[in-house]
C-alpha cells in the first residue's frame, strides 16, 4: 500500500458486523466507512443501539463470540487490522491503539492494584521491568491528576471513585503513547460535574501526546466542545458526517436535525417542552425497507421506503445519506 504517508491514520471501509441472537442474525453495523487523520478528534454520535460501540469494538476486534465482522477493511497506517493474526493484533492493542470504556466501575480488575494495571501495557509492549513500568505508571497517574499518585499506586479499584477510575483508564490508555485512542462513552457513567473534567483531561492529554481520538457519545453537547469532525450513526449506518462546526451550524440529515432540536437549551428552556423525535429507534432485527429513519421522518416520501440511500457529498466536504436533500 503506497498511501502510508499521505493517507489518513485510520481508514475504515465498508465495515459490516452482525450478531447471532435468539432472534436470528442481526446486522448491527452495516457498510460503515469513515476515516480519522493523525491528531484529529472524530466524534461518533448516535442513540443506544445505533451501532457506535460495536463499530468501536470491531476496530480492535474485541467483539465477543456472538459478534462477527462480515466485511470491510480497517486500515491503520495502511495495514488492514482485520487481516492480522491474533499475535499481531495484540501487539497493536494498547500500544498503537488504546481504548477507554464506558463503565469505570467494572472496567478495572478488582484484584489487581491500580499501579499494576496502568503499568501493564508498558511492561507488555516495551518489555520494561515492573519496577520501571510502575514508576512510569506513577508519572502517568500524576499526569492524569490523581492526587497523591505515589501513595495510590498500591490501591485497588474499589478504593477509587468513578471519576478517579476513569482518570486511571485514561492514564492506562496513554501509557504507550498510542497514535489513536478510542473512547467509548467515557463519561456516560459519571456524575455530570465530573464529566466535563474528564473530557477536558482526555482532550488535553491526547493533544499533548499527539494522538488521534475517536470519541463515541450520545451527547451532542460533548461533540460541540471537543470534536473536530462528527459522524452521526443511525440503525447501524452513518447518515451524516461533517466538520463539527458545520454540523452544528447547519445539520442536513433529518435525523441530525432532530437530534439538534432535542438538545435542551439554556435560555427560555423553563416551561418549554423539549422537542423529541417521534417514534422509537428501529429494531435491528426487523429493519424497514429503504431508509431506516423513514418511519420517523417528517419529510419521508414513498421513494424513501424503496431504496437505502447512499452517503453522498452534500457540500462543504460533508456527506449525508438522504434522498430528500
Amino acid at each position: 500500500m503506497d498511501t502510508n504517508l499521505t493517507g489518513p491514520l485510520l481508514d475504515v471501509q465498508d465495515l459490516s458486523v452482525s450478531f447471532r441472537t435468539d432472534r436470528g442474525i442481526v446486522r448491527a453495523v452495516d457498510g460503515v466507512s469513515f476515516h480519522v487523520d493523525a491528531g484529529e478528534t472524530l466524534a461518533i454520535v448516535g442513540e443506544s443501539g445505533s451501532g457506535k460501540s460495536v463499530t468501536a469494538l470491531s476496530l480492535l476486534r474485541l467483539l465477543d463470540a456472538a459478534g462477527s465482522i462480515d466485511s470491510g477493511r480497517v486500515l491503520f497506517d495502511g495495514e488492514n487490522l482485520l487481516d492480522l493474526d491474533a499475535r499481531a493484533i495484540r501487539s497493536i492493542r494498547g500500544d498503537r491503539i488504546a481504548m477507554i470504556f464506558q463503565e469505570p466501575m467494572s472496567s478495572l480488575n478488582p484484584v489487581l492494584t491500580i499501579g499494576k494495571q496502568v503499568a501493564e501495557p508498558i511492561r507488555l509492549h516495551r518489555g520494561t521491568p515492573w519496577q520501571d513500568a510502575l514508576r512510569e505508571a506513577e508519572r502517568l497517574l500524576d499526569h492524569s491528576r490523581i492526587p497523591d499518585a505515589p501513595a495510590r499506586l498500591k490501591d485497588y479499584p474499589h478504593q477509587f471513585s468513578g471519576g478517579m477510575r476513569q482518570r486511571t483508564m485514561i492514564a492506562m490508555a496513554l501509557a504507550c503513547r498510542p497514535k489513536l485512542i478510542i473512547a467509548d462513552e467515557p463519561t456516560t457513567a459519571l456524575d455530570v460535574t465530573v464529566q466535563a473534567q474528564i473530557l477536558a483531561l482526555l482532550k488535553e492529554l491526547t493533544r499533548e501526546a499527539d494522538s488521534a481520538l475517536i470519541l463515541i457519545t450520545h451527547d451532542l453537547g460533548v461533540v460541540a466542545r471537543y470534536a473536530d469532525r462528527v459522524a452521526v450513526m443511525y440503525a447501524g449506518r452513518i447518515v451524516e458526517t461533517a466538520n463539527a462546526r458545520d454540523l452544528y451550524g447547519e445539520p442536513r440529515h433529518p435525523y441530525t436535525q432532530g437530534l439538534m432540536a432535542s438538545i435542551p437549551g439554556v435560555e427560555g428552556s423553563i416551561g418549554h417542552r423539549l422537542k423529541t423525535i417521534d417514534g422509537q429507534p428501529p429494531d435491528l432485527a426487523r429493519l424497514p425497507p429503504g431508509c431506516a429513519f423513514a418511519p420517523r421522518c417528517e419529510r419521508a416520501t414513498g421513494a424513501c421506503r424503496e431504496a437505502t440511500p447512499a452517503l453522498e457529498p452534500a457540500g462543504n466536504g460533508r456527506l449525508a445519506a438522504c434522498i430528500r436533500l
Binding site: R90, S91, R93, G94, A98, E103, S107, H158, Q159
Partner: protein, 316 residues
C-alpha cells in the same frame, strides 16, 4: 484481624458442645451396648460380672452424669480411655490423626490439580468436544460411589495385571516413598470424587469472569490469552471455588472412613469405624470432636484466605 480470629475461635465452642452432645446421645441409642459385646465374648460371665464391669467403666451412672464427667475431663485435655483396651483416647488420636490429615491433604492436592486446569480449560473452550468430555467426566465422578470405585481398584488390576495397591502402612518419617506409595491410591480416588464439584464450580466461575468488562479491558491492552487467564481471570474466579473447598472438608473426613477401611490405612477413619462397631464411646466421641474441630478450622482458614484473594475483604 486478631480480634476476628479470636471471635471465630470462640464461636467453635458452642458448635463443638452441640456435636459432642449429639454423638454422646446417639451412641447410647444404638441397640446393643458395650457390656453386651464384652460379655458375648465370654460364655461363663454372669449377671454379677455385668454389674462389676459397668461400675468399673463408670457406665452404671445416669447418662447425664456420664456426659458431664466426660465433658469436664475433655476441658482439661483428657478424652478418657478406650473401654476395650484402656489406652488413652488422646494417644490413639495423636497416632491416627496425622495419617488421616496426610490422606486428606494429598486428596486435596489431587482434587485441585485435576479440577482447576480442567475447569479453566472447559470454560475457555466452552461447548467444544473437550468441554463436553470434561463435564461428562465430572458427572461420572459425582455419580460413582467411592467405595465401589475403591473396590474396583482393589480387584481388577490384580485380576488383569497381577498388580495390587500397596496395603501396608509405613510411617512417613520412616520411609516417605513407601508411605506415599500406600496412600496415593486412596488419595487419588478421594481427590477425584472431590474434584467433580470443584471442576464444575471453576468452569462456571471462569465463564462468569471472562464475560466481565475488565477482561475486555485487559484484551484491549494487548494481554495474551495465557496471561489473561492467569493474571486477570483466575484469581477473581477462585473466590467461590475456595469456599467450596471448605464446604467439602466433611467429605474428606467421611471419605477417609471408607477409603481407610478399603486400603487398610490406620487413620482416624478406621479408628472410628472400629470404635463404633465395639461401642467404644470415649473413642467415638473423641474422633468426632477432633473431626468437627478440624472442619471448622478449615473453614476458618478458608474465610481468612478471602482477604488474600479479594482486596475488598482485606480492607473491611
Amino acid at each position: 484481624m486478631q480480634a476476628y480470629i479470636a471471635r471465630r475461635l470462640l464461636a467453635l465452642v458452642p458448635t463443638l458442645l452441640f456435636v459432642s452432645l449429639i454423638v454422646f446421645v446417639s451412641m447410647r441409642l444404638i441397640p446393643g451396648d458395650v457390656i453386651d459385646l464384652m460379655l458375648a465374648q465370654n460364655d461363663i460371665a454372669t449377671g454379677q460380672d455385668r454389674a462389676r464391669i459397668e461400675a468399673a467403666l463408670g457406665l452404671d451412672q445416669p447418662v447425664y452424669v456420664q456426659y458431664f464427667t466426660w465433658l469436664g475431663n475433655v476441658v482439661t485435655g483428657d478424652f478418657g480411655r478406650s473401654l476395650w483396651n484402656n489406652v488413652p483416647v488422646t494417644e490413639q488420636l495423636l497416632a491416627t490423626m496425622p495419617i488421616t490429615f496426610e490422606l486428606g491433604f494429598l486428596a486435596l492436592i489431587v482434587a485441585l490439580t485435576v479440577a482447576l486446569p480442567i475447569g479453566v480449560y472447559s470454560a475457555i473452550r466452552q461447548d467444544t468436544a473437550g468441554d463436553y468430555i470434561a463435564r461428562s467426566f465430572s458427572l461420572v465422578m459425582l455419580a460413582v460411589p467411592g467405595f465401589w470405585l475403591g473396590t474396583l481398584v482393589m480387584v481388577f488390576p490384580s485380576v488383569w495385571w497381577r498388580w495390587a495397591p500397596e496395603l501396608e502402612y509405613t510411617p512417613f518419617l520412616e520411609d516417605p516413598i513407601k508411605n506415599i506409595q500406600h496412600l496415593i491410591v486412596p488419595a487419588i480416588l478421594l481427590g477425584l470424587s472431590m474434584s467433580a464439584v470443584t471442576m464444575r464450580m471453576t468452569r462456571t466461575m471462569m465463564l462468569e469472569v471472562l464475560r466481565q468488562d475488565y477482561i475486555r479491558t485487559a484484551r484491549a491492552k494487548g494481554v495474551g490469552e495465557a496471561l489473561l487467564i492467569l493474571r486477570h481471570a483466575l484469581r477473581n474466579g477462585l473466590i467461590p471455588v475456595v469456599t467450596l473447598i471448605g464446604l467439602q472438608a466433611p467429605l474428606l473426613i467421611g471419605g477417609a472412613v471408607i477409603f481407610e477401611q478399603i486400603f487398610v490405612v490406620p487413620g482416624m477413619g478406621l479408628l472410628l469405624l472400629e470404635a463404633v462397631f465395639q461401642r467404644d464411646y470415649p473413642v467415638v466421641s473423641g474422633v468426632f470432636l477432633v473431626a468437627g474441630a478440624s472442619i471448622l478450622l478449615i473453614n476458618l482458614v478458608v474465610d481468612l484466605s478471602y482477604g488474600w484473594l479479594d482486596p475488598k475483604v482485606r480492607h473491611q
